[in-house]
Amino acid sequence: MASGASAVKAGPGSPVTIPQPPPELERQPLVANLRGFGWISNRVASLSEDPAPIWWWILFIPSVLCLGMLLFMLTYQISTGVGVWGNMHPVMWAWDIVNFVWWIGIGHAGTLISAILFLLRQRWRTAVNRAAEAMTIFAVMCAGIYPALHVGRMWYDWWLFPIPNSNSIWPQFRSPLMWDVFAVSTYFTVSVLFWYMGLIPDLAVMRDRARTRLRQFFYGLFALGWTGSNRHWSNYEKAYLILAGLSTPLVLSVHSIVSLDFSVSQLPGWHTTIFPPYFVAGAIFSGFGMVLTLLIPLRSMFKLEDIITMRHIDIMCKVTLATGSIVGYAYAMEFFIAWYSGNPFERFHFLNRALGPYQWAWFFMVGCNVLVPQVFWIKWFRQNLVAVFIISILVNVGMWFERFVIIVISLHRDFIPSNWGYYRPTIVDICTYIGTFGLFLTCFLLFIRFLPMIAISEVKGVTPQSDPHHPLGGAKVNEVIPDAE
């Protein structure tokens, strides 16, 4: 970098004149206020080095209590039976699978941000990818609870894995649930690896800054002897690229396969070819919703406004708007195809969504997923943090209802009217769901407390001063603006 800077400086005598771009073309820098490297390191590392702020405890204690409730609820359910939930005949899947799909969907944004946007060279991703990836992992953990424990005899879950056994019975490879096992477990493994890979240089930073033996030991252990040497960086970048390449198809495959749980069956409302792309779009939609929900308060509480800038928020709002519109299109298309196919059961089913006993859920879904994000066409809403925060929560609510609509409404009135029923959740359903938030938030709060929640090394790479071609790039920055802190 120093050489690059000197190259700029070493002109043929005449002073360098930089033509100012017109203001409307000027890009806002990804790190605002021309924050220097030191500031970034200090800012991010201080979150886990300083004593925990009060608000952290205020959030953490209820989260742990919720986690305890989750454990209690799951113990109760495992010891007593799936009947403690509201699942019934004909609605054999209800909140269990709704929540599974919802959490899995939330997990999508993380990998999308970290892998696809990386490959597409979307440099703004660096400010949010670490937290988003952590969110992915924790969301997948929450999601994984449901398929593992919603079955009647969860102690035989291992039969879903292709493990050679004394009975020589293999799983049924034609079943989408079998595919789910592969899809979700692969997704989780790769996401964890990817996340951990990205953490290594930052863990080394934490190790180097550590003041206690304990911190030194643990950060040192997980930093895997990172020294920041050229060879390390070179291998790291290659590995990161490869993992990004591996994760990219997974972003698309996981939710596609989850959607096959439904579309492979022949239930009206499930049996639809549109599901894989529609589910992926919905997942990204809800994932961005969740990223916004988490980052908007965090950035203000941790004072990260210069790293997670309004430009980041704006971009994410636009992604939300785009995916929300795709989802809206999919809803419309489902209705159109139901009518166009002439299949009386399909026609009835879609009318029943809009007119039937669960009409309210359908209105929630359409309102939150299709109508509400449309306000993001207007810049004012994208710039207003309160509005964005509220809308991001509504998006998550809407996406939860989308899964509810697909699963419960499809099941509650199918082919034979004598089977029709009305599903109601029980208190255990509700407490288990709230409990998964406890698990999620506990993990997430521990994450922001002990790990750098912003990718320090990557953010430094996208600061103006690290770009040798930037007018402020290279070594001259230090001359112009002294380090803030």
Binding site: Y76, S79, T80, G81, V82, G83, V84, G86, N87, M88, H89, P90, V91, M92, W93, H150, V151, G152, R153, M154, Y156, D157, W159, L160, I169, W170, P171, Q172, R174, S175, P176, L177, M178, V181, D261, V264, S265, Q266, L267, G342, N343, P344, F348, L351, N352, L355, G356, P357, L411, R413, D414, F415, I416, P417, S418, N419, W420, G421, Y422
Partner: protein
């Protein structure tokens, strides 16, 4: 072919020296070569020295000592520490009984006493424990069908809440005490000729009991007899006696009648002898080709009933006005006319065209028609029915009369009078539960105490037991010897399959002890009675044959000729008082419950959980009301109301019943018991407090008052409409004649592809199967009686789950009866729009929709369809549900993880999931998980009813109909055993069937081998009416249905060209016959051209 085994030389025997030397000699050892004495000795001995005997006596005895001491110590240690296994007495077959093979069930013929006589049965016994009840198809008047009660009665045998002790004044007492008490009664009665001795019995036609009754009458002429007839089914006999002036009992031959008119007579549901009525009636709903005739059923009724379900024309009118309709019919049909009839008829308020056309139909079928009156109707209606039948010449043709002994017993009212007058010294209650069922004004519980001594034989310690000096536990009919006559008069034995579990007594024994017979054991009594019936030579052989066959051949009663006593009829008509219910003057109808009868099956879990055939409500009774009345009175479903009749009141929940007459309240008997078992406790509400001796069935002048509370009701089928879907297909007879393949034209327009994209793997597998199992269900014969549901529950160890769990949709029935109401088809655009939106309403709003007022009803047994291309199979991640080569969709319980995906993907939704451990935990303690323990006494008995051939499922797994796999396997094994080495391993045609098919009195369910072209199921599947439900999904079900054909009278005012379900279908999907022309030419041109 067997090859002979190579002969082997025995080394021990063939001493080498004896072997003649031929050619070369080989030796096996040097010793042999040397032929030493040691070697010869070794060859002689069986075992080497030291191994063949225990030569040291001291050490052997020492060993025994040590071992017995250590066993003793171990025993003391276990006993002393309290750590021992519970005492379980096993009874090994030290001597194997003759013809007994362990694990192979045995079958015994017996009979279940019923109000109409008895149901001949064959009961399966596993290792001495009865497990399944089936009808006796050998019996001349039975096809092996039974009713709900018979199927469920086995659960009563193992009811942990049945009376298990002898009790004196409510305290435990030894059985000897009861016997002493009986002999004391006997001595006292002998001394004073039976003065003050009263017997209260239930109607029963046991010849042995009659014999003992006569003996008591001779020896103790002062003793009095009373009948406890809680429901009032005696009226048929009483009315016939009055109409014909002699003691006769009618037997309705519905199979002989072309036209049947039921005057509030639920002969397919709640009358006596239902299984025979269904069999006879359904035999006339059989139709196999155009041109076949059907009978025609007219029903006049206020409450919806099973008979109403099957009506071709149903006239909805309050029960109290049925008498007017009967009079109107009579005045059309009785030539010589009876004065006063016209006046009664005029007030009927019924479309005169209905009456005239119905009467015309009856007249045209004189001698082949039948008018029947229901037990709820007053005597006058019965007499009018007899008069009409006599006028039409039906007597002796469609209704025959059997002579019965003159009834001498009096009723409860007379007994109450005697009790109040202090004329009863000893009251012996041998049947019924009068403290619960007696008319309210008798105030039975206190009246009963006015007897000096009350001895009661009861199956339960119930309301009546409270005020008894002695309570003697009654034996179940499967524990006791007895006899009975079936409705045709054939003598049937009641033989025990098991010794009384709790030492219960039978009626015969008690009577024999009181009369002072030398032999009081029921066996001798029954045998003695049999000797009176049988006059031939080989008494012992005949007795054995009697027990083996389960009936005495050729003992059926001979019909007697009867002449109508015109005077009696005329007199009765004169006494008819007419009144019409209105909003202020509501009518209350008390009806026998389809499940718990008069309350006697209140503690039977199978019956409690059996959905009521009409309402599909479980575990409760409700106040049935019509839509219009409910709206006028401002009440709605589940709302608690108080029904007030003069100064008496009961409280219960409202339920709007489609097809119910306006201003009528239907109240089912049998619930709200104060003293019952764990199962029946807290179910429903008691309506007996409204019921008086004067108006035991229909009472006017009731009013209702909403209480502002709601009561949760569990109903297994919440949606009423068929929504115009071609799930049940029906047409009128005329349509069928024009379009014999109408069932195939409906519902399959949308068949997506002719050939699927990929071949079904099962198509190849199928080639390997010896049998291909399939089922055909004739919707034209099925009346919806639900006997099959209980049979399935009994055969397959299907658990009950309790009201709360049913409310959550978790009932476990493998076989259910779907019941749909089909209503008017919208005529104009506005109605059509309204009906369109009504479809999407919540189920709670159905009760306000006016299409339900005059519905037609269709029923359909729905069970696993055993699809050849089963949607459940490919979604199971662990291969727990798969196909066998004989076409069964089999469920491997051990492998099931419980993802429930199979159920979600099953379009028929016939799979049931064990949300809790239904067997291990008692009802009400499911949510306690491991803390919810079943009491040992409950479980000890409960497990005895289980079929050992069927797995008892644990929680967390899916289950469903297996086509009674255990029966299939038994048949196959039996055939293989018989076949031996031959290749004759195909199960003989129709040699066995499933539990549901076996129990079906209508013969609507037929199961068999599709590979066998001669099997009944193969032939039925060839019929025009055969169709598969949800055919367009290409599931290729092995269970197919035969479409229903109605036979309405074109002259009737309510006639329509097509059944309402067909019209609903047509309105949604278009006329199925429109494009039939072209298709017909391609597929089955010849048939359609002929019919067009």
């Amino acid at each position: 072919m067997k090859t002979p085994l190579p002969s082997v030389r025995e080394p021990g025997r063939n001493s080498p020296v004896l072997v003649p030397v031929h050619g070369r000699t080989y030796w096996r050892s040097l010793d042999e070569l040397a032929n030493t004495p040691e070697f010869r000795d070794w060859v002689e001995r069986e075992f080497p020295a030291g191994a063949s005997e225990w030569t040291d006596p001291v050490s052997r005895r020492h060993f025994m000592k040590i071992m017995s001491a250590s066993f003793l110590l171990a025993g003391v240690g276990f006993a002393g520490s309290g750590c021992r296994r519970p005492v379980e007495r096993i009874e090994p077959f030290g001597k194997m009984p003759e013809n007994y093979v362990h694990g192979v069930p045995q079958y015994y013929a017996t009979a279940m006493p019923s109000p109409g006589g008895a149901i001949p049965l064959v009961v399966k016994s596993n290792d001495g424990r009865p497990t399944k009840i089936e009808g006796n198809s050998l019996h001349p008047d039975s096809n092996g069908g039974t009713d709900r009660y018979a199927q469920a009665s086995i659960l009563n045998l193992y009811d942990p809440d049945r009376a298990t002790r002898f009790a004196a004044n409510g305290k435990n007492a030894p059985p000897e005490g009861a016997i002493d008490a009986l002999s004391q009664i006997s001595r006292e009665a002998q001394a004073n000729g039976g003065q003050g001795l009263s017997f209260l019995v239930e109607r029963n036609n046991s010849p042995s009991r009659l014999r003992l009754q006569q003996a008591i009458q001779q020896k103790l002429p002062q003793a009095k007899w009373y009948i406890s007839d809680s429901v009032g089914l005696d009226i048929h006999q009483r009315a016939a006696g009055q109409a014909f002036g002699r003691p006769v009992k009618p037997l309705h031959l519905f199979d002989q009648a072309d036209v049947v008119v039921a005057l509030d007579c639920d002969f397919l549901g709640s009358e006596t002898d239902v299984q025979n009525n269904i069999r006879r009636f359904s035999s006339r709903r059989q139709i196999s080709k155009p041109g076949d005739a059907l009978n025609r059923l007219y029903v006049v009724e206020g409450l919806m009933s099973i008979t109403g379900f099957n009506a071709d024309h149903r006239l909805r009118t309050p029960s109290s006005t049925v008498v007017q309709v009967a009079a109107a019919l009579a005045s059309e049909l009785l030539k010589d006319g009876i004065s006063g009839l016209e006046n009664v008829a005029k007030s009927a308020g019924v479309d005169p065209k209905w009456i005239a056309s119905c009467a015309k139909d009856l007249r045209e079928h004189a001698g082949k028609s039948l008018v029947v009156a229901g037990y709820r109707q007053p005597l006058q209606v019965h007499l009018l029915a007899h008069a009409i039948n006599s006028a039409l010449g039906n007597n002796g043709k469609t209704v025959v009369f059997h002579e019965v002994p003159e009834p001498k017993e009096q009723g409860l009212v007379e007994l109450a009078q005697a009790l109040n007058a202090g004329n009863v010294g000893t009251l012996v209650i041998l049947g019924g539960n009068p403290a619960y069922t007696a008319p309210a004004e008798l105030n039975w519980a206190t009246t009963q105490r006015k007897a000096k001594r009350v001895v009661r034989l009861g199956y339960y310690e119930d309301e009546t037991s409270v005020g008894c000096d002695w309570h003697i536990p009654a034996a179940h009919y499967l524990e006791s010897w007895g006899d009975a006559l079936t409705s045709d008069g054939t003598l049937v034995p009641i033989q025990p399959l098991i010794a009384p579990l709790f030492g219960g007594f039978t009626q015969l024994e008690i009577l024999a002890r009181i009369v002072g017979l030398p032999k009081t054991d029921p066996y001798s009594i029954v045998r003695e009675t049999f000797a009176k019936f049988f006059s031939g030579q080989d008494g012992e052989g005949a007795w054995r044959k009697f027990l083996h066959d389960g009936f005495l051949g050729n003992s059926a009663a001979q019909p007697v000729a009867v002449n109508l006593n015109q005077g009696a009829v005329a007199q009765a008509i004169g006494s008819i008082k007419t009144s019409t219910p209105s909003k202020e003057n509501l009518e209350v109808v008390f009806h026998r419950d389809y499940k718990v009868d008069d309350g006697r099956y209140n503690n039977n879990g199978w019956l409690q959980e059996l959905p009521d055939p009409i309402t599909k409500i479980v575990w409760d009774n409700v106040i049935l009301i019509s839509r219009k009345t409910a709206q006028e009175l401002g009440v709605k479903n589940s709302e608690m109301v108080e029904v007030k009749l003069s100064d008496r009141a009961v409280r219960g929940p409202i339920w709007v019943q489609p097809g119910q007459a306006d201003y009528t309240l239907g109240l089912a008997l049998g619930y709200g018991r104060q003293k019952t078992g764990r199962v029946g406790h807290g179910t429903g509400f008691n309506v007996y407090p409204l019921r008086t001796a004067e108006t035991p069935h229909i009472a006017l002048g009731a009013s209702i008052r909403p209480l502002g509370q709601t009561y949760p009701i569990s109903c297994t089928q919440s949606h009423w409409s068929l929504e115009g879907r071609a799930i049940i297909r029906e047409a009128n007879l005329k349509q069928y004649e024009q379009h014999p393949r109408f069932a195939k034209s409906m519902g399959s327009e949308k068949l997506p592809v002719e050939a699927p994209l990929y071949p079904n793997p099962f198509d190849q597998l199928k080639q390997k199967g010896l049998h291909q199992w399939g089922m055909s269900i004739d919707l034209n014969r099925c009346v919806g009686c639900s006997a099959c549901m209980v049979a399935c529950q009994s055969e397959n160890n299907v658990p009950i789950v309790g009201k709360d769990q049913v409310h959550r949709g978790r009932e476990m029935h493998w076989l259910r009866i779907d019941r749909y109401y089909t209503g008017r088809v919208p005529k104009d655009a506005q109605q059509a729009r309204q009906r369109f939106f009504e479809t999407f309403n919540t189920e709670a709003k159905q009760q306000f929709e006016d299409w339900i007022d005059n519905p037609q009803v269709v029923t359909q047994p729905m069970l696993c369809q055993h699809c050849e291309s089963a949607p459940c199979e490919n979604v199971c991640p662990v291969n727990a549900t798969s196909h066998d080569q004989e076409g069964l969709n089999v469920m491997t319980y051990n492998r099931c993880v419980g993802t429930r995906y199979c159920s979600n993907n099953c379009p028929y939704k016939v799979r049931r999931f064990n949300y809790f451990d239904w067997n291990k935990r008692p009802i009400g303690k499911f949510y306690l998980g491991p803390f919810g323990h079943r009491k040992d006494d409950e479980w000890d008995l409960m497990k005895m009813v289980k079929n050992p051939d069927v797995t008892v499922r644990m929680r967390g797994i899916m289950e469903k109909c297996t086509f009674c796999l255990q029966r299939i396997e038994q048949a196959k094994i039996a055939q293989k055993t018989k076949a031996g080495a031959s290749s004759d391993v195909v199960v003989p045609t129709d040699s066995f069937t499933t539990a549901c098919a076996q129990a079906c009195p209508a013969g609507a369910i037929v199961f068999g081998n599709l590979n066998d072209p001669e099997s009944r199921v193969s032939r039925l599947k060839q019929l025009d009416r055969d169709y598969a439900v949800l055919e367009p999904l290409l599931t290729k079900p092995r269970t197919t249905y035969l479409a229903r054909v109605r036979n309405p009278n074109p002259e009737m005012p309510d006639y329509s060209e097509a059944p309402l379900s067909f019209q609903e279908y047509e309105q949604k999907m278009g006329n199925p016959f429109e494009h039939e022309e072209g298709e017909n030419h391609a597929a089955h041109g010849a048939t359609s051209e002929k019919s067009e």
